[in-house]
């Protein structure tokens, strides 16, 4: 038998991603928050606010990209922070580091698992949107959606690694990520359309990456736009956040339980 390690780093990353993905899929809580809740939100929002046409666009069409952003953040940031914190505090990360697997492979594998989940949840939202609510998008912009999802997912994974360094117990992980994300969801046009949010609050939100991810995903649904649907200004802000997250993670991330120092 040739092992993943023997076949090279690329296969080792795939090996790690496969098991990390399996772990997420087997975790009921992760499955619900990542794959089911965004779809549930879509059904509820359309149920509450209706699916009438505003400015030539169905209301559901504005929810799909926003909830896609929420799905990407769930699959990347929230899910990763919780699982990494638990694995670190339970000594699972330390045990993995006691094997020959390089640290970057563990990080890349876990990130790849989040990217796959992000693509999956966005695909589910697009499918439900199209076939249940008749949400349409410019087909030419599909590569742009995929690109934005991948970049967004990687960036929020990096931010997840950075935030996990500030959490010192497994119990604190879930409240911490929600405390960070819930306010941002409200001011970034995920739950409430940007047109209903005061301008100053939109400016506050524009500092953070959530609004830019939602905005970047919105482009493909906008019939007045053309092109592949990549909004480079939004990608740029997301990338700056990722760079900051990377700097924090590189300085502070630890594989050992915080109690063991």
């Amino acid at each position: 038998m040739t092992t993943a390690a023997a076949r090279g780093p690329f296969f080792l990353v795939l090996h790690q991603a496969r098991y990390d993905l399996l772990a997420v899929i087997r975790n009921r809580q992760a499955r619900f928050f990542t794959l089911i809740l965004p779809v549930l939100f879509l059904l509820i929002f359309v149920g509450i606010f209706g699916n009438h046409v505003v400015h030539g666009v169905k209301l559901s069409t504005t929810y799909v990209p926003g909830l896609s952003a929420l799905g990407v953040i769930s699959a990347s940031f929230i899910n990763l922070v919780i699982s990494i914190t638990v694995q670190r505090e339970e000594g699972i990360l330390k045990r993995r580091r006691a094997t020959p697997v390089p640290a970057w492979v563990l990080i890349a594998g876990r990130t790849l698992a989040s990217v796959v989940m992000s693509l999956a949840v966005v695909t589910v939202l697009l499918t439900v949107g199209r076939f249940v609510f008749g949400v349409t998008l410019r087909n030419a912009a599909l590569p742009g959606i995929a690109f934005t999802v991948v970049v967004g997912s990687i960036a929020f994974c990096v931010l997840g690694y950075a935030l996990s360094t500030a959490i010192h117990s497994e119990d604190a992980a879930q409240p911490m990520v929600q405390a960070v994300m819930l306010p941002l969801y409200f001011i970034s046009g995920i739950f409430i359309a940007n047109s209903n949010i005061p301008r100053w609050l939109q400016h506050v939100a524009s500092v953070f990456p959530v609004q830019h991810l939602a905005n970047g995903l919105q482009n493909a649904y906008d019939p007045t736009q053309t092109g592949v649907g990549i909004v480079w200004t939004d990608i740029g802000v997301i990338a700056i956040w990722a760079a900051v997250g990377l700097a924090v993670a590189l300085r502070r991330f630890s594989w050992l339980p915080s109690t063991a120092s």
């Binding site: 092992t3 390690a5 023997a6 080792l12 098991y19 399996l22 339970e90 045990r95 094997t99």
Partner: protein, 304 residues
């Protein structure tokens, strides 16, 4: 030809601010031996092991594990070392087999998965998820994960803490099995019976220093320590009636009669001869060599 030691430590020190957790220790562990590292909590045991495993930096001293400085241990080195860490949970979502498949993938030349599962006695549990395993079964899975890479050296950090006696026995059999595979084992424990049962050699650390080193039989001068003879006399017989040569060995006032001697055979003979002549039965007669635990408590008492 004298083989190069598997682990060699010279003048190892580790300070946390003003506190010296490890205050200059020297150790050498030879290929194929089971070495037990004993010491009270906070004595520097775990710090030392984590330095050897490459998880912690040292303040000073020379350390070589399989010829490599663990602070610079690379992938090739990690392929030769296995570790059962003190606190590490099972991967909750994976079955025993999946867990081993994940870890086997990390190594260039792992052991056979089913054979390794059988070795630690989890054959019945291959398809059970980590979360459903008992404490003892999880620890055995830990041992299997440390073995899967077919390492030359295995660190076992308190592998049986929290086990019931029968699970402990099973774990001992597994560790004994490692000896048969020719592995070198670095075991830390605070169970004396465990060290006595498994170890070829023991070192005791207290207050960051090695206070004794030897085989289970000779550690801390155990082989030259006095043997205790204990028995209860019937109520109508007074201690003063014992033969003079035994009265001189009396230790302690209360409870059963306690004698300490360096020539137990002579004095047991004297006692039994006297008792048989007087027609006295001594049903609770107990002759005991000093336990490893007594030696250990004596050795670690002085240290802060």
């Amino acid at each position: 030809m004298r083989a190069e030691p598997v682990v060699s430590i010279r003048g190892l020190r580790k300070s946390y601010g003003p506190v010296e957790a490890v205050a200059g220790i020297d150790l050498e562990i030879r290929r194929g031996e089971i070495f037990a590292f004993l010491g009270p909590n906070g004595a520097g045991k775990t710090t030392t092991v984590e330095i050897l495993e490459g998880f912690r930096d040292r303040t000073s001293g020379e350390v070589s594990v399989l010829g490599v400085d663990p602070a610079r241990g690379d992938t090739a080195w990690r392929n030769r070392v296995g570790a059962v860490l003190q606190e590490s949970s099972a991967e909750p979502g994976f079955t025993v087999r999946e867990c081993l498949q994940l870890y086997a993938g990390y190594y260039l030349a792992p052991r056979d998965i089913d054979e390794t599962i059988a070795l630690v006695g989890l054959g019945e549990k291959v398809d059970t998820k980590g979360a459903q395993l008992s404490g003892g079964q999880r620890r055995r899975l830990d041992v299997a994960l440390a073995l899967i890479g077919d390492p030359e050296l295995i660190f076992l950090d308190e592998p049986t803490t929290g086990f019931d006696p029968s699970a402990r026995r099973t774990a001992w059999d597994v560790i004994d099995g490692l000896r048969a595979l020719g592995k070198t084992v670095f075991l830390t424990t605070h169970y004396m019976d465990e060290a006595e049962h498994l170890a070829d050699r023991i070192a005791v650390i207290a207050g960051g220093r090695i206070v004794a080193e030897g085989t289970p039989g000779t550690l801390g001068g155990r082989d030259s320590m006095a043997t205790t003879i204990r028995f209860t006399l019937p109520p109508e017989v007074a201690t003063a009636e014992l033969p003079a040569e035994l009265r001189g060995l009396l230790a302690g006032e209360d409870g059963p009669v306690t004698l300490t001697t360096h020539t137990p055979l002579v004095h047991v003979h004297a006692l039994s001869t006297w008792a048989l002549e007087r027609g006295i039965d001594l049903p609770d007669l107990d002759v005991r060599r000093p336990a490893l635990e007594d030696v250990y408590l004596e050795l670690t008492k002085a240290a802060p």
